[in-house]
């Protein structure tokens, strides 16, 4: 990074540290914080969508859909996360490749499964072997986002399902009395009032999601925990910046990061709760009403 860094072995003290902390590897470490934030930013809305879909399906009057919604949340919640994270991306990847293989290489005769090997034609590879590394990394990241969304969506589905049932029955009956159709009362009365009941459960999920991001490394995405372990491990002089075991310092930095993220989330969620409580038939809503008088 700096001009004087060309020969790290000749440096010491703060100068050495300034070079060390700006090495290419550290840049990758800093960038991985962005990876984690990006994962959170995409996964949270995606999981909400999955959860909402699951909850609506589970409440459906059409029984196959109802079974599907309930099975989704029961199955995914019942399977250990790690098993799921290891299985889903590999299974999804092979499923995509198998479909592309069938579509793109109809003349291929060799079996796809040869003993332990999973062999598809070159054109069906996802991503193509010839594509640059960043495509492979984005693909791995996308699979990770999908796996996270499916898992956290199942938990969110259960939260939404409970929240939808908690909205006072009288509200829905009143809506019907006003002549609203099923659909109208669902979107105009049930959904707006559901959020306040869903929020405590969803905020729990968000906190757990923040702490689950190190699972990314299981899926081959190099996240902050991977880099902290890699950078902190003791380095012999084969590396440009040899040092003893510094994992403690790196993990302390991660601790600060996660605590800060948790604190910021708490503040944001508290504001959201206050906002959603406005005009609701809950104790918090009542308190807001009294304060306003």
């Amino acid at each position: 990074m700096f001009g004087y860094c060309s020969d790290p072995s000749a440096l010491d003290g703060l100068v050495w540290l300034s070079c060390y902390l700006t090495s290419g590897k550290h840049m990758a470490f800093y960038a991985s914080f962005g990876t984690v934030m990006l994962l959170l930013a995409i996964t949270a809305p995606a999981a909400l969508l999955f959860g909402f879909g699951g909850a609506v399906a589970a409440r459906s009057a059409f029984w196959p859909l109802r079974i599907l919604g309930k099975a989704y949340s029961a199955m995914v919640r019942g399977i250990p996360d790690i098993v799921f994270f290891l299985f889903v991306p590999i299974a999804l990847d092979q499923a995509f490749e198998w479909m592309r293989h069938k579509a793109l290489c109809p003349e291929w005769e060799a079996p796809v499964r040869q003993g332990n090997d999973f062999v598809v034609c070159v054109e069906a590879k996802l991503p193509l072997s010839a594509s640059p590394q960043w495509v492979h990394e984005s693909y791995g990241f996308a699979l990770a986002v999908l796996a996270f969304s499916i898992v956290f969506g199942a938990f969110a589905a259960n939260v939404f399902y409970g929240a939808m049932r908690t909205v006072p029955r009288a509200q829905l009956e009143t809506a019907q009395a006003y002549g609203m159709t099923e659909r109208q009362s669902f979107w105009r009365v049930l959904i707006p009032q559901m959020w306040i009941y869903a929020l405590p459960g969803l905020s729990n999920l968000w906190m757990i999601l923040i702490k689950a991001t190190p699972l990314l490394f299981l899926l081959g995405v190099e996240d902050i925990v991977y880099w902290a372990r890699e950078l902190g491990g003791s380095k012999t002089s084969i590396y440009a910046y040899p040092h003893p075991d510094w994992r403690l310092y790196y993990f302390l930095a991660l601790l600060v990061f996660y605590l800060a993220l948790t604190r910021v989330s708490e503040i944001a969620l508290a504001r959201l709760t206050a906002r959603l409580s406005r005009g609701q038939a809950t104790m918090a809503g009542e308190a807001l009403r009294k304060a306003a008088v």
């Binding site: 090495s23 990847d93 054109e123 010839a130």
Partner: protein
């Protein structure tokens, strides 16, 4: 005429296939110096980086480096995420059942125990090693208590902080840590010969690519460049061809 067009199309297609196949993805661990490690620029470096690049140059292939956790390095090869493993992997009968190896690019190299003192109990004590290595298998046979770690560095750290009495892995990869510990760590006991040398692993369904690399390794053995690489990265004491 129609046949001719079809034939041309097929030819063009297969040419395209050959072109796409020319990028070979090399899978490595990136945490096993001096064989393979991530250097301070964030790139794969080490003995196998230089070896792999040279092999690809000789075979006229475009190669791309991929890092993968040691634990899942074979499953990801057979499911096609990369085309070969070049990660300090010893050739063993057990691994041969799942993947095919080239000839070894190192001679069978010794494994060794490293510990903080020379009076540790190697057959009754607690011995650290890396998960899924031939050394870990060996420890089980000696009757010692085995503790496994995902990486070399963590296995070494376990000995430094007293969690394990000694660590056993490839002598070449323990040597830098032992030599630079300032006398804190030392090799204990006799060297042990395990495995049949280190080779590149391929899918069983990929014999052509394996043959290509096998020939390239042979050519490096023949002109002595492989020995030079071994001396450069693994040290003067490491066995050569």
């Amino acid at each position: 005429m129609k046949k001719l067009i079809l034939g041309t199309a097929a030819l063009a297609l297969s040419a395209g296939m050959a072109l796409a196949q020319d990028v070979v993805r090399l899978g490595t661990e990136g945490a096993y110096p001096p064989y393979n490690f991530i250097n301070d620029n964030g790139e794969v470096d080490g003995f196998e980086r230089e070896l792999g690049d040279e092999l690809c140059a000789r075979a006229a292939l475009t190669c791309e480096w991929v890092t993968n956790d040691w634990d899942s390095i074979i499953p990801n090869l057979v499911s096609g995420n990369y085309d070969t493993i070049i990660a300090g992997m010893s050739i063993t009968a057990e691994r041969r059942e799942v993947v095919d190896f080239t000839q070894g690019y190192t001679p069978p190299s010794p494994s060794a125990y490293a510990a903080l003192s020379d009076d540790v109990d190697l057959t009754g004590g607690v011995i650290a090693s890396q998960t899924g290595t031939i050394q870990a298998n060996y420890v089980v046979d000696t009757g010692a208590t085995l503790v496994e770690f995902p990486t070399l560095d963590e296995a070494l750290a376990a000995v430094r902080n007293g969690e394990a009495d000694a660590v056993i892995l490839d002598k070449d990869s323990l040597a830098p840590a032992v030599n630079e510990s300032g006398g804190e760590m030392m090799f204990v006991g006799e060297d042990i010969a395990l495995g049949e040398g280190i080779g590149m692993a391929f899918r069983k369904s990929d014999p052509d690519l394996r043959a290509t690399f096998d020939a390239a390794i042979q050519s490096m053995k023949d002109d002595g460049t492989l020995n030079d690489l071994i001396t450069k990265w693994l040290g003067e004491d490491s066995p050569r061809f």
